[in-house]
């Protein structure tokens, strides 16, 4: 399935401007279906009511709020927008409302049912997560129970009867105002509650955004380009473009090719840039790479074990481009570029160590196949003496032997409340397209 969503052109300041037709380094889209899974929070709350209304009625009882918070993506100026909706019904049942008057005591019961819709806007922009104040809209209906009156002094029965009639007139006469008061009271409380709860939830999200998105990718540009956020009612989008966005330029269309909850299009340059900025100029031996990849220290049983052995393969990764990647026809070609490679007492400069990975689909499984052997040669195409190249390949096979790995069950984002699994992966002309499926944990 595929489709194209065009961002409404009425959002002129949306970024990604000058790259109208260029392919982005990264294009990550999150579909509304994921938001629906993530933001689906029931609200059930009962709290005591003990307050005095503006006209002096002392209300005691319980308010029970039931409802649901959901999220909807929306267009947001200069960012990706999310509208949180809280729809609730609040039933305020008074056990006894009292209305003291001189020598007269009026009491009555009433049930106030208030339907409330509260909204809170969130926006993801390059400078963080912004939020507006929650707004609430309520509609109330009131059902009155019997009104009672008691009086003291002379002729208490008569006085009470008179007072009862007066109270009925006054209470029923104030019905419309009471509805307005209930709307305002319940609405403002729920709006405040939504603000409070969302802000509490947002605190760690803001911190994570600052640490894992804003710092490394917006400010330090580890992917080699400028990050921008956009979206509409169907998808939210993160794009990384090579050229800084310029305000007022032509809006580029958002192209979404998949309907899965999460879809990502990654240009090899983005990964190359990231690896260059994190691994450029690093030096590791094959044994050290095994320790790092498998997060396990290899045993050191003798003094010799602490020394780098002659047979180890030591790679000095290139400072500016330690890894080169090519994506094409479901093939991923990875070339580790060594400015120097050492083993068996010899060293070579400008060596490329290549491995081809193939993406295969087999009975619904997604397989990553690396059946082709390693290939090692000088960057200028010069060959390495087979004695040494065979040795190097044997060492590299310790890290990654030939075979196939089933990656269809790979989970991403373990800390999330939903389970995200790799659904598809394709390597096409200069991009890696992946989608993730989502399900409730």
């Amino acid at each position: 399935m595929s489709r194209t969503v065009l961002l409404p052109s009425l959002i002129p300041s949306l970024i990604f401007c000058s790259q109208a037709l260029s392919s982005p380094l990264v294009n990550l889209t999150v579909h509304q279906s994921l938001v629906s899974l993530l933001v689906n929070i029931p609200v059930v709350e009962t709290r005591p009511v003990n307050q005095t209304t503006a006209d002096g009625v002392c209300v005691e009882g319980d308010a029970t709020v039931r409802g649901l918070v959901t999220g909807a993506l929306n267009a947001e100026d200069g960012g990706a927008g999310l509208l949180l909706k809280m729809e609730t019904q609040t039933l305020t049942s008074s056990r006894q409302s009292t209305w003291p008057r001189r020598n007269i005591f009026i009491s009555f019961d009433w049930d106030i049912t208030t339907q409330t819709k509260a909204y809170k806007r969130l926006a993801l922009r390059t400078d963080g997560v912004a939020s507006g104040d929650a707004m609430a809209y309520s509609e109330s209906s009131i059902a009155y129970g019997p009104i009672n009156a008691q009086a003291n002094g002379l002729f208490p029965r008569f006085t009470a009867a008179m007072a009862l009639r007066a109270a009925q007139r006054e209470i029923y006469g104030r019905h419309d105002q009471s509805v307005v008061d209930a709307n305002q009271s319940v609405g403002s409380q729920l709006a405040a509650s939504l603000d409070q709860q969302v802000e509490a939830m947002l605190a760690p999200i803001k911190e994570s955004f600052a640490r894992f998105v804003e710092g490394p990718f917006v400010k330090r540009k580890l992917l080699g380009g400028a990050v921008g956020f956009g979206g509409d009612e169907i998808v939210a989008q993160i794009r990384v473009e090579e050229i800084e966005p310029q305000q007022g330029s032509v809006v580029s269309p958002l192209v979404v090719t998949e309907l899965e909850p999460v879809a990502a299009e990654i240009h090899p340059k983005a990964l190359e840039n990231f690896i260059a900025k994190t691994l450029g100029g690093a030096v590791f031996s094959d044994m050290e790479l095994i320790e790092m990849m498998f997060d396990q220290a290899l045993p050191i049983d003798s003094v010799d074990d602490i020394h780098q052995k002659a047979e180890e393969l030591l790679v000095h990764f290139d400072e500016t481009k330690p890894i080169a990647l090519t994506f094409n026809a479901d093939e991923i070609v990875v070339v580790a570029r060594g400015s120097r490679v050492e083993t068996l007492g010899r060293s070579w400069t400008n060596i490329d160590i290549k491995r081809v990975f193939k993406i295969k689909k087999d009975n619904g499984k997604i397989l990553l196949s690396f059946m082709e052997p390693w290939s090692i040669a000088g960057r200028d195409g010069s060959a390495i003496d087979p004695v040494y190249s065979k040795h190097m390949i044997a060492r590299l096979d310790e890290i990654l032997p030939q075979g196939e790995i089933d990656i269809s069950g790979v989970e991403i984002g373990r800390g999330l409340p939903v389970k995200l699994k790799l659904a598809s992966i394709r390597a096409t002309d200069q991009s890696l397209l992946t989608t993730l499926s989502a399900s409730v944990k």
């Binding site: 640490r211 490394p216 580890l222 994190t278 050290e288 003094v303």
Partner: protein
């Protein structure tokens, strides 16, 4: 990575405890053996609190066992050495003396020092942070309560000979633009810790913070053979700087600049700039002391080796092979506690107070046969003779039984 020099300084002490400890230990002063700064003698016992990061509780337990087993009634010159987290413990005993009372008292306080969140210790998480360009350093103020205790609220001039060590960052640093990148333009000669940049000698890899007695003794070594520059501890502020310099390991605490670099004595002339970044060059800073005190016995609390990858990262950043240096420093010990793999793993999982239990039990066991209690994994260093040219090998790996009371 140097993270491992520092497994987690899980030392949190309520500020008030500092006062209590100082008051208490000062009342014990009479029980403490008086220090001597004599010539090398067989009464000298160098106690090395080897760097071990979060496993620092182990050393407090080991110190208590040592205090219980040492024959404190005999003539005994205790000399303390420490690196990284071990510098805190060496300083505590250098300021307060090693007695059963001070050891027990310190250990009792460990239950208050069990907050392991003071430091960012998780290697893999740190690596990710570094790759994302994040700062991994913890605020040094996290350590201030324990520093206050070990230095008597910053007033201590050590009563005992003391050596702390720290790497000279401005000499060793060869990091390039990316977090794991290296310019690979420096080289350290582990024979004398001379550092070369593009083939040109630029200085020593480290600085010793030493009390004046040790500074005087170190002068017996030919300057070009001495492994580190020397910065005498002449004031309590010098000691505070030494502790901070030694614990400020890369990725743990920010490096600290010496505001008085002229006070550093170097074979390579006046020092105008000095920045310290932790004791990672010396897990066990005993080599040069043993060379000037060949008759001294050396006891160490031990530490494990680094993984290959961790060692490589530090080598990439600072041109220094920590594992090789550690193997060579092991040559100089008479007794050095060993960890089983299970003990080392367990220390990651338990609170500091429980680490002390492990260290205590292990030290008692070690001292039952202190000759056997030493690693077989060691290598001979280039400087394997005393400052006056005597072979040191016959004066190592002898155990420390002569200092111990007969075991019951």
């Amino acid at each position: 990575m140097s993270c491992l020099t520092y497994r987690n300084l899980g030392l949190k002490v309520l500020g008030t405890l500092a006062v209590v400890l100082v008051v208490h230990t000062s009342s014990l002063a009479q029980a403490v053996i008086s220090p001597k700064a004599a010539q090398s003698s067989n009464q000298d016992l160098i106690v090395s609190f080897d760097a071990k990061g979060t496993a620092v509780g182990w050393d407090f337990g080991a110190a208590q066992a040592l205090a219980e087993r040492l024959d404190l009634d005999r003539d005994l010159n205790l000399i303390f050495a420490g690196s990284s987290s071990g510098s805190l413990i060496a300083t505590y005993y250098g300021c307060h003396g090693l007695t059963r009372e001070t050891a027990i008292f310190a250990r009792k306080k460990l239950k208050d020092w069990s907050d392991k969140k003071l430091l960012n210790e998780h290697t893999k998480a740190k690596l990710i942070q570094l790759m994302l360009g994040e700062d991994t350093d913890s605020p040094y103020t996290n350590l201030q309560p324990i520093v206050d205790i070990v230095t008597k609220n910053g007033t201590c001039m050590p009563e005992y000979p003391l050596m702390l060590t720290a790497a000279n960052m401005e000499i060793l640093d060869q990091r390039s633009g990316s977090p794991l990148g290296t310019k690979a333009n420096k080289h350290v000669d582990l024979g004398n810790f001379d550092v070369y940049e593009d083939g040109r000698k630029i200085g020593k890899a480290c600085t010793y913070f030493v009390t004046t007695q040790i500074a005087e003794r170190l002068s017996a070594i030919k300057a070009e053979e001495r492994l580190c520059d020397v910065r005498p501890i002449k004031t309590p502020q010098d000691l505070l700087l030494g502790v901070r310099a030694s614990v400020s390991e890369p990725t743990y605490f920010a490096p600290i600049a010496d505001s008085n670099p002229a006070s550093v004595q170097s074979v390579y002339g006046p020092i105008t700039k000095r920045v310290y970044n932790g004791g990672f060059v010396f897990m066990s800073p005993v080599q040069d002391m043993k060379r000037v005190m060949p008759e001294a016995a050396v006891f160490g609390t031990g530490r494990g080796v680094f993984s290959r990858a961790q060692n490589r990262i530090v080598q990439s950043w600072f041109a220094f092979d920590m594992n090789r240096a550690q193997m060579e420093s092991r040559f100089f010990f008479d007794t050095q506690m060993q960890f089983t793999a299970e003990e080392w793993k367990k220390m990651d999982e338990v609170a500091v107070a429980e680490q002390a239990d492990l260290g205590y039990a292990s030290a008692l066991n070690c001292l039952k046969d202190s000759v056997a209690c030493i690693s077989k994994l060691y290598s001979r260093p280039a400087q394997d003779k005393s400052a006056s040219g005597e072979a040191l090998e016959p004066r190592t790996r002898r155990g420390i039984a002569r200092f111990l009371r007969p075991s019951r």
